[in-house]
């Protein structure tokens, strides 16, 4: 499987956790729960971080490689289906965002074709290349995100985040139930193995904290700048970028926000596609076939299904979201439970042999 360093794993956590929580999701959550969107996304983050600890254990101890063949085949098949679906939905988000911000709408399939080619190249080349891309861009991305927040020149009123818990419980849980497609962001990391797992590193807790702070801070700014208008935003990062002081002085610096978000999105898409490719490579010898299959699936979905962003939304919030939740939650749990049972039976067999 794809061996990477602990530091690289941590950096990918940041990219995976931030990108799609700052795109369309803020507007969707605000529509139902208004300024309690911070708590909704905090719940999602908490859920994802709990899964992340399981995923980290699996990656560090190379658990998947030790699973029995049948079980591994079943898990890989489920993961492939999940990652293919998520890739299609996420790439749709990115393509629509680019198309609407840079090309006056239209040309979604062509935008996807360009993104798909690049992400496919990275996925085929393997996790090492992807991890190194994360290392190259992480500092610039974090700095740009910070500058973007700090230089917001608008009527920023953090009191708009209040009152907390104004939404009734039913609506809150209804919102949480509706947007499962935007959870499980860290699951693609399950296909990696950490080569220097014993080395102590401060990067992991730092990146987890940075992820949480970045997401929460952006939601707080969203409410502070847009109040209830946040439900009409397209992409949170780009939307905040329009209120950047640079926008007033120099020109459209939301292009900078879009650039930063796009770089993160490409890395995240490549991560998901890589995960799908790795899952498929358990059955197919040539990695390129798995990558090609996901791309074909995505294009067909666009042409015959996802004609516009509202259809994409309908698909994401339809019944398929429960599949995403189930696989995303159960896969790491099943893997660890089976691994534990396997270790126990091996230990018992060894003890029995010693007694003999």
């Amino acid at each position: 499987m794809n061996g990477i360093y602990k530091r690289q794993f941590a950096i990918l956590i940041f990219f995976a956790g931030v990108v799609f929580k700052l795109a369309f999701l803020p507007a969707y959550l605000t529509e139902i729960v208004a300024n309690d969107n911070i708590f909704a996304v905090a719940v999602y983050l908490l859920f994802d971080f709990l899964c992340l600890f399981l995923i980290y254990y699996i990656a560090k101890n190379r658990v998947i490689e030790k699973l029995p063949h049948n079980l591994r085949a079943g898990i890989m098949l489920a993961l492939f289906a999940l990652f293919a679906l998520k890739f299609a939905v996420m790439s749709g988000e990115v393509s629509y965002c680019i198309s609407s911000n840079l090309f006056k709408d239209g040309h979604v399939v062509f935008v996807y074709a360009a993104i798909g080619a690049l992400t496919s190249y990275i996925a085929v080349k393997g996790g090492g290349v992807l991890a190194k891309m994360g290392e190259i861009f992480v500092v610039a991305v974090v700095v740009c995100l910070a500058i973007n927040l700090v230089t917001v020149e608008s009527d920023v009123n953090f009191m708009y985040n209040l009152p907390f818990f104004a939404t009734d419980g039913k609506s809150f849980f209804s919102a949480l139930d509706k947007y499962y497609m935007w959870t499980g962001d860290f699951l693609p990391l399950i296909v990696f193995t950490i080569t220097d797992g014993k080395k102590k590193s401060k990067t992991m807790p730092l990146m987890i904290a940075l992820t949480a702070v970045t997401v929460i801070a952006h939601y707080a700014f969203l409410n502070a700048v847009f109040k209830s208008g946040a439900a009409k935003t397209d992409n949170l990062l780009v939307a905040l970028g329009t209120f950047n002081i640079g926008n007033i002085l120099v020109g459209r610096t939301d292009a900078l926000s879009l650039t930063v978000w796009f770089i993160m999105a490409v890395i995240n898409l490549a991560l998901t596609l890589l995960a799908a490719t790795e899952s498929a490579s358990y059955f197919l010898k040539d990695r390129r076939i798995g990558t090609a299959a996901v791309n074909v699936f995505t294009v067909l979905l666009y042409i015959f299904g996802l004609k516009n962003v509202s259809k994409l939304f309908d698909l994401s919030t339809g019944a398929i979201r429960y599949f995403v939740l189930a696989v995303g939650t159960l896969a790491p749990i099943v893997i660890i439970v089976c691994h534990t049972l396997q270790k126990r039976s091996v230990r018992r067999a060894l003890e029995a042999r010693k007694r003999l």
């Binding site: 360093y5 530091r7 690289q8 680019i98 840079l102 090309f103 935008v111 360009a114 993104i115 690049l118 190249y121 990275i122 080349k125 090492g128 290349v129 991890a131 190194k132 891309m133 290392e135 190259i136 002085l249 120099v250 020109g251 459209r252 292009a255 650039t259 796009f262 770089i263 490409v266």
Partner: protein
């Protein structure tokens, strides 16, 4: 085998196709017929006259009485006496190397290499001496690598001088020079040099194997060897380090690299190669650290601007006018209004004109260089703009890009092509295309390892120890370990 001078001379003339520069000199020494044979121009003729011919005549080839066919024999009282070879070695002190040979084909090869062959009538073997006089230029500062402070010696076309320049700086028994001949017709001397206690033996073995496997007509320059040593045959990326200065190559050898010195070329190859090497300059180590850091930042910024600025300009003017502030936009629009070409064609045209100017300025005779520079400046800078063929912002952007690209001159060959690709991507897809193309180039570079060294180290993968000598130039006192990005045996550089 018993040598017969006349017959041997005829055979040699036949073997060399009666070439005019094959010389023979026949004389007698100690009553024996002697003949020397050499290629004119490759040997030190004065030294041959004085130290070989005169010395042999004076020696009379004395090896004792009753010498047999190869000069060995018994003395009057039955003791063994020295052979002709021992006599020759004792009297010909000017030779660098002395050897014997019995195979005629090998003899021909050695004469072609520049050795002096000596034949004694009745002897059983040929004798070979190396008294060479290779014409070469004096050691001078290379034009591609000038410094304000620091050593100014540069390599020459003579491999022996070049290895001597390295040996002068690496006075250690661990400094190894392995020489082989490459090229069926050129028989070019190629030396693989490394420090045996530092270089990774796997890399040494890999390079050695690749050099030995070269089977080609001739090697004119070290760049021929670079083609065989590359890991990826069809990559645009620079894969082998090059340098014309012994201080730079010495520093690289001390970091664990191996070097390949080729006869006939002043450019020495170093392996492995990572991109950060071209950002570093030898002058950085001879000046203040803060200044070096500042200069490296300037190089990086210059290079990024050189790559991205033309594409950004094209993207903004083709699809994203709204990115520019209004006043600036009005000024640019006024300049590009009523031009016959679209902005992307204009930009590509101007970049190509600059490439043509660059190429012409390298090739033209020095004396008309000034006039061509004036013509280029006037035509591009003034006349073409006034004629309304191109706009002044385009010329400005292209000029800035061309100046910036020379911040790292060793990467011009790949970066100038990358720059064109970025312009094309921007013209097709605007800003989106520019970013995508830049990401694709980054991904492409990240897939490459040079003999086990990651191409974009120490940034990816991040290597903390090596960052000290990347963009940030720290004091030499902090560089206690060798760079981890280059495989090596021995970590400690300073205690």
């Amino acid at each position: 085998m018993i040598i017969e001078i006349d017959g041997l001379r005829a055979r040699l003339e036949e073997a060399f196709h009666r070439t005019d520069d094959l010389n023979f000199k026949e004389f007698y020494a100690g009553g024996k017929p002697v003949c020397i044979c050499y290629i004119d121009g490759l040997i030190d003729k004065l030294s041959v006259e004085r130290n070989v011919i005169d010395a042999l005549i004076k020696s009379r080839l004395q090896g004792g009485a009753d010498n047999n066919a190869d000069g060995q024999g018994q003395g009057k009282t039955g003791e063994a006496v020295t052979s002709y070879f021992d006599v020759l070695k004792a009297h010909i002190s000017a030779a660098d190397e002395t050897a014997t040979e019995t195979d005629f084909e090998k003899l021909v090869k050695k004469i072609a290499d520049g050795d002096v062959a000596l034949f004694i009538g009745g002897a059983g073997e040929y004798y070979l001496f190396s008294i060479r006089s290779n014409p070469s230029r004096a050691i001078s500062e290379p034009p591609t690598s000038t410094v304000l402070k620091g050593p100014r010696e540069g390599f020459t076309e003579d491999m022996k001088i070049n290895t001597a320049l390295l040996r002068k700086r690496l006075r250690s028994r661990d400094f190894v020079v392995e020489t082989i001949k490459v090229g069926r017709y050129t028989s070019t001397g190629v030396s693989l040099v490394y420090i045996s206690s530092i270089a990774d033996p796997n890399i040494v073995e890999k390079v050695r194997k690749r050099l030995k496997e070269i089977d080609v007509d001739g090697v004119i320059d070290s760049s021929y060897l670079a083609e065989f040593l590359k890991e990826r045959k069809y990559s645009m990326l620079k894969q082998i380090g090059v340098s014309e200065k012994p201080d730079i190559v010495t520093a690289k050898l001390l970091e664990g690299r191996v070097a390949v010195v080729s006869d006939g070329s002043p450019i020495v190859l170093t392996i492995p190669f990572i991109l950060i090497e071209d950002l570093q300059d030898s002058a950085d180590y001879y000046k203040n650290d803060a200044r070096s850091f500042f200069i490296r930042m300037i190089r990086i910024i210059g290079e990024i601007l050189a790559l991205l600025l033309p594409g950004f300009y094209v993207a903004v003017l083709t699809r994203h006018y709204q990115l520019l502030p209004m006043n600036f936009l009005i000024s640019v629009i006024n300049s590009v209004n009523e031009l016959p070409f679209t902005v992307e064609i204009e930009m590509i045209f101007v970049l190509l004109i600059f490439e043509i100017l660059n190429e012409a300025s390298v090739r033209m005779p020095r004396y008309i260089g000034m006039s061509l520079s004036l013509i280029g400046a006037i035509i591009l800078g003034d006349t073409a703009v006034k004629a309304g063929l191109i706009s002044s912002p385009t010329v400005l952007i292209a000029a800035m890009s061309n100046i910036g690209i020379y911040c790292i001159p060793d990467e011009i060959s790949s970066f100038s092509i990358f720059r064109l690709a970025l312009v094309l991507a921007s013209s097709l897809f605007g800003f989106f295309g520019l970013i995508l193309c830049a990401l694709a180039m980054t991904a492409y570079m990240l897939t490459y390892d040079s003999y086990g060294a990651p191409y974009l180290a120490p940034f990816a993968p991040y290597i903390r120890e090596d960052i000290k000598d990347s963009i940030d130039k720290q004091s030499l006192l902090n560089l206690k370990k060798r760079p981890e990005s280059i495989p090596h045996q021995n970590d400690i550089r300073m205690k």
